[in-house]
């Protein structure tokens, strides 16, 4: 019996593997075309390295940045920063959102204020924060937390407001305390909305981080590409941009989206 199973398994796996290989190619093909166009423009129009480097030069710069450890240094600075800011914003923003959301007067009074704060992007406060905290990582931290926390508080508040009051009343009449209400009603009920806030906050926050790093000059990928501008190192700029894009996709796909999927699967509040 067992010998009969083995071949069928092999046959099952091989077309699947082929399919995966094909889909991998499908993802890579557009990039291959893009690189070909890039190369053609570079060679065809005879553009100097000061304006655009060839893909080969960019790759060489990538290898150099990796082997000297520069890239991992700058990338880890940015990643640690966004990670710390996201953790802090969730830890502080969600409770604030709960506190504001459970009371309709508090929610009413804070909504306009939060919208206003969201309108003034964190990066606009940067010059003032630089005066207050100096050109250090603290400034970047403050700007990114501001950018991240506002959408999280706002969406947590909205999430709590949309929970049907009967759920709260039902649990209360059964003798649940405030903590019990928070963990059993507010948190699961507001979670999809919190995740929306986190996603939006990460979108805003990652860009704010890059912009702040450009201006604060204390490490990070934004600093890497903006300092490279000063020395006209186009190869470094392009490598930095590609790394920024890849890291954002990885953070989004591997961390934010799974959380979103889990939330939807478990509490299934989302439509469609």
């Amino acid at each position: 019996m067992s010998t009969a199973v083995a071949p069928s398994q092999v046959r099952l796996i091989s077309p699947l593997g082929l399919l995966q290989k094909l889909s991998g190619l499908k993802v890579l093909l557009p990039f291959a075309v893009l690189v070909a166009i890039w190369w053609a423009i570079k060679v065809g129009a005879g553009i100097t390295d000061e304006v655009l480097v060839s893909p080969a030069t960019a790759f060489a710069a990538f290898v150099r940045l990796v082997t000297t450890g520069v890239l991992s240094e700058y990338a880890s600075t940015s990643l640690r920063m966004i990670g710390a800011c996201a953790m802090f914003s969730l830890a502080v923003g969600v409770p604030i959102g709960f506190a504001v959301g459970v009371n309709r007067y508090a929610a009413r009074s804070c909504e306009g204020f939060l919208r206003f704060l969201q309108g003034v992007s964190g990066i606009a406060w940067l010059p003032l924060v630089i005066i207050w905290l100096g050109l250090s990582y603290k400034t970047t931290l403050a700007v990114v937390i501001y950018t991240l926390i506002v959408p999280i508080v706002f969406n947590t508040m909205i999430g709590v407001r949309t929970i049907p009051e009967n759920y709260v009343l039902a649990l209360r009449s059964l003798g649940a305390g405030r903590l019990r209400l928070a963990t059993d009603v507010y948190l699961p009920g507001a979670l999809p909305s919190i995740v929306v806030g986190l996603r939006l906050g990460m979108g805003y926050g990652w860009r704010a981080l890059i912009a702040a790093e450009m201006l604060v000059h204390s490490g990070g990928l934004g600093d890497l590409i903006f300092s490279a501008r000063t020395f006209n190192q186009i190869d470094r700029i392009i490598v930095g941009m590609i790394v920024i894009g890849c890291l954002y996709i990885i953070v989004d796909r591997l961390i934010v989206q799974p959380i979103e999927n889990l939330t939807i699967a478990r509490w299934g509040v989302l439509r469609k």
Binding site: K26, V27, L28, L29, P30, F31, E50, R108, S109, C110, E111, F113, R115, F116, L117, Q118, G119, V120, S121, I123, A124, W125, L126, P127, L128, I131, W132, I158, T162, S193, V196, G203, Y204, R207, A208, I210, A211, M214, L215, I225, F226, A228, R229, N232, I234, I237, I238, G240, M241, I242, I244, G245, C246, Y248, I249, D252, V269, L270, R271, K272
Partner: protein, 275 residues
């Protein structure tokens, strides 16, 4: 007991309504009060934290000598240019991609990647290509708005039920007529919510781009003020940025979106509340 409550209610109700109307002002008042109190007690140097009066005065000053108007106009002009370009190209490309599966499959990895680096990340490269000025700011806004509008348009086009398109086709409509009378209105709510959030991102990107990439505009006004430690101008500028952002969203984008949603109502209730 219960007989007493209604007797007192008209006056109380009115008081409640007034309080309800005034509630949104409360946090602003609280912040201003805290600021005033802190300033009175600590008396920080003007470069660190100016008094409220100083900020009000500086708004008057820069409005009076025309600096504020010029910078606001420069920023809004760039936003208008960049956003119009972004919306136009985003919708056209979105339609092409949404209608043809082949194009959509080919482009989607590229879109995911370039969306991840949309906006401000292009600044260092584009400073070299476009120089500092309006073209650079317009590029950054176009780049930001395009991807959001594009993705929403593709989603909207793909979600229009095929039955509707086939129905109109069966009645003898051509390809263009089907597009105009079915696909476009069907996708419009998505396109508009894309435009709305695109402008939110675009306005942020503009301010960030202007910090280093433009000789004028609100972002540049704030950044230059930072060099001279004029925190009164910075705070005034930030407040104006917030007011403009809210005004745009409230009086231009929100009404348009609401009207479309009401008219073509394809968005579910959950989404309406979420937005």
């Amino acid at each position: 007991m219960s007989a007493v409550a209604p007797a007192a209610s008209p006056a109380r109700l009115r008081l409640d309504r007034v309080a309800w109307m005034l509630l949104p002002a409360a946090p602003f008042v609280a912040v201003l009060a805290a600021w005033a109190a802190y300033w009175q007690i600590v008396r920080p140097p003007a470069a660190t934290l100016p008094s409220i009066l100083a900020v009000v005065q500086v708004v008057g000053d820069i409005a009076g000598d025309g600096r504020l108007g010029a910078n606001v106009l420069a920023s809004l002009w760039r936003l208008l240019l960049g956003a119009s370009l972004g919306i136009l190209t985003g919708v056209v490309a979105g339609f092409a991609t949404g209608l043809y599966r082949g194009i959509s499959e080919f482009l989607s990895p590229l879109v995911i990647f370039f969306n991840a680096i949309s906006g401000i990340v292009w600044l260092p490269l584009m400073i070299g290509w476009l120089g500092i000025g309006t073209a650079l700011a317009v590029f950054v806004i176009w780049n930001t708005v395009f991807f959001i509008v594009f993705q929403n348009t593709v989603l909207g086009v793909q979600l229009v039920p095929e039955v509707l398109e086939q129905g109109v086709r069966a009645l003898g409509a051509g390809r263009l007529e089907t597009l105009r009378s079915v696909t476009l209105p069907g996708a419009l709510p998505y396109i508009l919510s894309g435009i709305r959030s695109g402008l939110g991102f675009g306005w942020r990107a503009l301010i960030a781009a202007e910090l280093v990439g433009a000789p004028s505009g609100l972002g540049q006004m704030i950044f230059a003020a930072g060099d001279y430690h004029r925190s009164d101008i910075i705070i005034a500028g930030c407040l104006i940025i917030g007011v403009i952002a809210i005004a745009m969203d409230r009086w231009i984008l929100y009404p348009i979106e609401q009207r479309t949603v009401q008219r073509w109502g394809l968005i579910t209730d959950a989404e309406k509340e979420g937005v």
